[in-house]
C-alpha cells in the first residue's frame, strides 16, 4: 500500500496498486483497454508507462521520507526500451542519492521478466516541503 497512490485520482484512473516488501514498493498497472496507445500492434501508450514510472518513483520517495506532503518532480527522463504489450506492467524505484534538498531516483518497468525492462526512468525530486519550486 502507498499513501501517494491511494490519494491520487490519476493513479486510480490508471488502476495502480502497490505492494510493499521491506522498504521497497512494487507498483502494478493492470492491463486495461483504456491504456492502449497503438491499436494496430497493439501496444500500451508510452505515456501510461512513463506515468507509472513517475508515480512509482514519487511513491517510493514518499515512503522513504514519511514527513513530506507529496514529493515534487523537478525533472524526469524516460527511455522506452521495448514496446508495452497488452499485459500488466510492474515498476519499482530506487533512491540513488538523497541529499538535503534533492533526491535522484531510478525506476524500471517490466512485464513478464524483470530482467527485460520495457522502460527506465531517472528523475530528480525536490525534498523541501515549500510551495513552488
Amino acid at each position: 500500500m502507498s499513501r501517494v497512490i491511494e490519494a491520487m485520482p490519476y493513479a486510480r484512473f490508471l488502476g495502480l496498486t502497490a505492494e510493499q516488501a521491506g522498504d521497497t514498493l512494487t507498483v502494478t498497472m493492470p492491463f486495461s483497454d483504456h491504456l492502449i496507445g497503438n491499436p494496430m500492434l497493439p501496444a500500451l501508450h508510452g505515456g501510461s508507462t512513463a506515468a507509472l514510472l513517475e508515480i512509482t518513483a514519487m511513491a517510493q520517495v514518499a515512503e522513504s521520507f514519511p514527513g513530506m506532503h507529496l514529493p515534487r518532480p523537478i525533472n524526469v527522463s524516460v527511455a522506452y526500451l521495448r514496446s508495452g504489450r497488452p499485459q500488466h506492467v510492474y515498476a519499482r524505484a530506487r533512491i540513488n542519492k538523497a541529499g538535503r534538498r534533492v533526491a535522484h531516483v531510478l525506476a524500471e518497468a517490466w512485464q513478464e521478466d524483470e530482467a527485460q525492462p520495457i522502460a527506465a526512468l531517472t528523475a530528480h525530486f525536490l525534498l523541501e516541503d515549500s510551495p513552488g519550486l
Binding site: M8, P9, I36, P39, H45, A51, E54, I74, N75
Partner: protein
C-alpha cells in the same frame, strides 16, 4: 500558405487511440510546424487532491503525444513511430482546475530519428508549466534486430 496533407488527420491522431481518448485529449491547432493539443481539466486526472492540479504523468503523456504529432507534421505523412526517450522539466505547478495545452515542434528529422521540443502551458508557451525534449524513431525501416541465440547451454 498551403494546408499540409496531414492536417485533416490531426484531430484523429490527437485523440483516436483508447488512451488519448480516455484522457480526453483534443486537437487544438497547427501553425507552420507547431502543433497543439489540449487536455481539458478533469477531476480524475488530478495528481494532488489538495490542490486540484493535473498530475505530472498526464503532462508527460501530453508532451509525449504532441511530440509524435509534430513528427508527423514534419514528415507531412503518417508513419509508425515510437518514442525513444523523453525528458520533462517541471518548471512550476499548473493552475488548479485548468486545462493544459501542449505545443511541439520537430526541429530535426533524419531518415530514422526525429528530434522534438515541446511545452505545456495554460495560456502561452513562454510561461510553461513543463518543457520536454524527446527523440522518436521511425519504426518502418526494418524489423527489430535480435541477439543470436546462445549455443552450448
Amino acid at each position: 500558405m498551403d494546408v499540409p496533407a496531414i492536417a485533416p488527420l490531426l484531430p484523429q491522431l490527437a485523440s483516436g487511440a483508447a488512451h488519448t481518448h480516455a484522457l480526453g485529449f483534443t486537437y487544438e491547432s497547427l501553425d507552420g510546424d507547431r502543433v497543439r493539443i489540449r487536455v481539458p481539466w478533469r477531476e480524475d486526472l488530478v495528481g494532488d487532491p489538495d490542490t486540484g492540479v493535473i498530475a505530472g504523468g498526464v503532462v508527460t503523456t501530453l508532451l509525449d503525444h504532441v511530440g509524435g504529432l509534430a513528427v508527423w507534421v514534419s514528415l507531412d505523412n503518417f508513419k509508425p513511430l515510437a518514442t525513444l526517450d523523453l525528458r520533462v522539466d517541471y518548471m512550476r505547478a499548473a493552475r488548479p482546475r485548468t486545462d493544459l495545452i501542449a505545443e511541439a515542434r520537430c526541429y530535426r528529422l533524419t531518415r530514422s530519428i526525429a528530434f522534438v521540443r515541446a511545452w505545456a502551458f495554460e495560456d502561452a508557451p513562454d510561461d510553461p508549466v513543463a518543457a520536454a525534449q524527446s527523440a522518436y524513431i521511425l519504426t518502418t525501416a526494418r524489423p527489430e534486430r535480435r541477439p543470436k541465440p546462445e549455443t552450448g547451454e
